[in-house]
Symmetry: C2
Subunit: 256 residues, 2 copies
């Protein structure tokens, strides 16, 4: 263990690189909660760096809730409860394929809770400029040339909607959306037939938000999410074409 790691991403500072390296190994399960990491000197040797750089990296990890350090003890991996899952870095490091399906499922559950409410708030509280951003994102979806552009525009659409909700606590969910749609992008294949359908559903949201119709916005978003659920089920778990999945179903009951 602790073999000298290789390719350091250019442009990144050393302590950033070290933080990412260690962070990935924690998120990947190589170091489990309660376990004590190698000490700072050992990390320094492993990365061929000074203790200073290692310490700054460890402070970063501490700030994100991944570890806690104490003299004479060392740096101990914190219980997962403490991990800051709404941190973009932490989420990026969380690419262990192991529980990918479960995690994506968790994300969808949360989206079902949040996004209908977001759509409704956006419809009610949006400013003209915020509406404009939503419209432009929708336009981006319509004119997207490939799947990558489509996903980017889709993410932008949802983030614009969140911004329009005028609630500071909603903003952090943007990274969750990115993660969800990014993962979906990984799994899904080009399927242009779905594109027009998705466009229509997003259009319904746009229409409701434009008209300041809260309940309609909520409903349109719920429809969209339910459709996404089906897509996830099919792409990730192909053999389960139409399994009812009782818990999922009841959760979806956001009917207004």
């Amino acid at each position: 263990m602790l073999e000298k790691t290789t390719k350091r991403k250019a442009n990144a500072n050393l302590h950033v690189y070290i933080a990412r390296s260690i962070g990935e190994r924690i998120l990947g399960g190589e170091f489990v909660p309660g376990e004590i990491l190698p000490n700072e000197a050992q990390w320094g040797k492993a990365f061929g760096s000074s203790r200073t750089a290692v310490r700054e990296a460890l402070k970063t990890l501490t700030a994100k809730g991944l570890i806690a350090s104490r003299p004479k003890i060392g740096s101990r991996v914190q219980p997962k409860i403490q991990w800051n899952l709404f941190d973009r870095d932490v989420l990026d490091w969380h690419h262990a394929a192991a529980d990918r399906h479960d995690f994506l499922n968790s994300i969808q559950e949360v989206r079902h809770m949040i996004e209908p409410g977001v759509a409704e708030l956006a419809a009610l509280k949006r400013s003209p400029a915020q509406l404009e951003r939503v419209l432009q994102a929708w336009n981006g979806m319509k004119t997207a040339k490939n799947l990558e552009h489509t996903v980017a525009a889709d993410v932008e659409f949802h983030e614009a909607l969140m911004a329009a909700a005028n609630n500071a606590l909603i903003v952090p969910f943007g990274i969750i959306i990115e993660k969800a749609l990014g993962n979906l992008f990984d799994f899904t294949t080009q399927r242009n037939d779905r594109h027009t359908e998705a466009l229509k559903m997003h259009g319904a949201i746009v229409k409701a938000v434009t008209a300041r119709n809260g309940p309609a916005a909520r409903k349109a978003m719920t429809v969209l999410l339910n459709d996404t659920d089906r897509l996830i089920e099919v792409t990730i778990n192909p053999q389960a074409k139409a399994k009812p999945k009782t818990p999922k179903k009841t959760i979806q009951s956001d009917r207004t």
Copy 2:
């Protein structure tokens, strides 16, 4: 500016203290997004510390999304979008009385989105041990001797419910709940008449979760939240006894 700050909390490491000091001043609006902080040497002088300690503090703030540093430029306060509002420290530093009401309102909006779904998930997916924790929290509410105990038990109740939902992304909301109920604690006066009522509403949730009745759990939680809304309105904004508040009202329509 930059006068030597005083009382450093014993037990806390120097870089932790420095991070909190600067963090509070950023959250308090003393340094606004886009603004460039004093450089590391200046901070060192201000705190009577070494650059090392200052740098570790700044790395902490960087990890929480509050600042970004570049050579020759300095450390610049990030746009609020980047701030990690689901970080416990950031939330603690966010005690500027200025937008307190707005922020509490944002929290309530999010609770309305999340918690009914949480209650439903908990009812459907809880383990026996997780149910036990909920029951104990409820017991704690019943036997609480003063308002402080009541609030603590109330927080524990909601966090237990979140744990029972078995969704990793839900856990971070615990700190939001703490903040909300803590603030409520600051504003509210002892009102024992409300206590029995609150107990009853929590009891309805307990009953539904015990019976694995998802929809009932959702509904009970919605009732509780609506009541909390009224409490907040009255305690914070006493003259607005029964103002309809159209946006709020429609959001509350989580009727199943």
